[in-house]
């Protein structure tokens, strides 16, 4: 029999798709059901954040940072922008403010990983995970709302500390939430980790080897699941991270299941960090006095980095001594992790696109800024 002539099909997973987590367009070249190549088309959410930051002073940039870039890691973005300005201007930050900032960044990491787990579950068909993760996220948002006044966008950190002190009784509520959450985390493990369908869809799928991870510059849980032990909180500690004990989970398989396990372990470690910070929280003021809202940062340039839930978020700040920054370049972790997508997807089937894309946890506002 003559062999069948097959052609490659170019499939467009358009900007509107329930599982692309935002407006990402993937142009997939298929040979039957096998993926030959995946070309991401980005830019559908480009908000010209770096240009806008040049026309706003550093305090106004806090409001822009927590919605223009990665909106799921709002407080971490605020920290990134402030860390660059505070390093260059040598602004003192009181100890209590450092601990409060650490607690809030870890709570933000919990909220971000919960949303990732919920949407990853719903992509792979586990609808229960979505509903439960939303329920836990509501509790974290309640904790945020009683301190910062916002559920998703906070504008809470300031140059030299945080805006307001914690209300009375908040530390007890936070502790109660942490203990409740550790029980819930065990439930998520029971629901998903041992489930044969979950394992069949994620184990061995979308492998990124250690050499490939280094070559692409991957960071965050994607790199840590491939054996690359890189965490900014350990290598360049900031705020109170050098005073608390926590471990950084590293797995070597590099598949979707390893990335899932890394994030689940990170949630447990974040809860431990929050409990330790609550125990060590010193008394004192939460905002350095006499730091003006329209601070003039002295001329110079600095590159600082923080660990966002997606990876290594770097800010290159160039200042010419004025009230507005001259240039802010944001090194976004999702943008770099997205580059590894074609390598990870080659050779798998169409249904695995969703599993692999979900496991690298990109946020389109972080990719496009």
């Amino acid at each position: 029999m003559r062999s069948l002539r097959t052609e490659e099909l170019i499939l467009n997973m358009g900007p509107q798709h329930p599982s692309t987590h935002g407006v990402l367009r993937l142009v997939v070249t298929l040979d039957g059901e096998n993926i030959v190549e995946v070309q991401p088309d980005i830019g559908y959410l480009h908000s010209s954040v770096e240009k806008m930051m040049e026309h706003r002073n550093y305090t106004q940039n806090i409001a822009l940072a927590d919605r223009g870039m990665d909106y799921l890691a709002a407080l971490v973005n605020e920290m990134a922008v402030l860390r660059a300005a505070e390093t260059l201007a040598d602004v003192p930050v009181p100890e209590r403010a450092r601990y409060i900032r650490t607690i809030f960044m870890e709570l933000q990491r919990l909220a971000s990983h919960l949303l990732w787990l919920g949407t990853y579950g719903i992509d792979l068909g586990a609808f229960t995970a979505f509903l439960w993760c939303m329920r836990e996220r509501e509790l974290i948002m309640d904790l945020f709302e009683s301190v910062t006044g916002g559920r998703l966008h906070h504008v809470y950190f300031r140059l030299g500390g945080v805006n307001e002190d914690l209300p009375p009784g908040w530390t007890d509520r936070c502790r109660e939430f942490c203990h409740y959450f550790l029980n819930r985390l065990d439930e998520y493990h029971k629901l998903l980790t041992g489930n044969p369908i979950w394992k069949a869809r994620t184990q061995g799928v979308g492998v990124l080897t250690r050499e490939q991870a280094i070559a692409f510059g991957a960071c965050g849980p994607v790199a840590r699941a491939s054996g690359l032990a890189w965490d900014v909180r350990k290598s360049h500690p900031y705020e109170a991270y050098d005073r608390v004990e926590f471990q950084v989970p590293v797995y070597t398989e590099g598949d979707c299941y390893a990335r899932y396990l890394v994030r689940m372990d990170e949630m447990r470690e974040s809860t431990r960090i929050i409990l330790q910070c609550l125990d060590q929280l010193p008394e004192g003021e939460v905002r350095a006095p006499r730091v003006p809202l329209n601070l003039k940062v002295p001329a110079g340039e600095v590159y600082t980095r923080v660990e966002s839930p997606r990876g290594d978020l770097g800010i290159h700040l160039v200042s010419t001594g004025g009230e507005f920054p001259w240039r802010v370049k944001i090194r976004a972790p999702s943008f770099v992790n997205l580059h590894a997508l074609t390598e990870m997807m080659r050779g798998w089937k169409v249904a695995d696109i969703i599993a692999i894309l979900g496991s690298i946890d990109i946020v389109l506002a972080d990719v496009d800024r």
Binding site: Q60, T128, N163
Partner: protein, 154 residues
Amino acid sequence: MPSLLQRTAEAVQGLVTGLGITFQNLTRPKVTLLYPLEKSNVSPRWHGLLALPVDTETGNDKCIICFQCERICPSRCIHIEATGKGKERVLTRFDIEMDKCQYCGLCVEVCPTEAIVFTPHYEASTYNRANLLYTLEDLHRAAPKEPVARGILR
């Protein structure tokens, strides 16, 4: 390659464990808030709609027309105009474009007399975008411009 029996046992175990956790939730209290009938208590610091509440003693708002809120707003949505000089300044226009506002709270932080504050209101949906421009009377009233919708509920 595990045998058929092993794979079946693993699948059944996964199913039973998962369903057990799911059915446990039947016995737990429900967390759904029946929205228009029950409203959640927003925290005292919630960033709701902005307002210039009227001071009961003086019968006017506490604004001293220093323009600090207009200068700090990152969205440039506050527009203030005043006539007169010095202490005799009179406010002629104080508009806040609620559709541009980011509810960031910088204007509330910077106001020296706490004239501009957040209210707990958040239900301000409207059919017409022009209704989202809040003038001085709307800010004095400290409430959304349109009645809160109750939908098809009686």
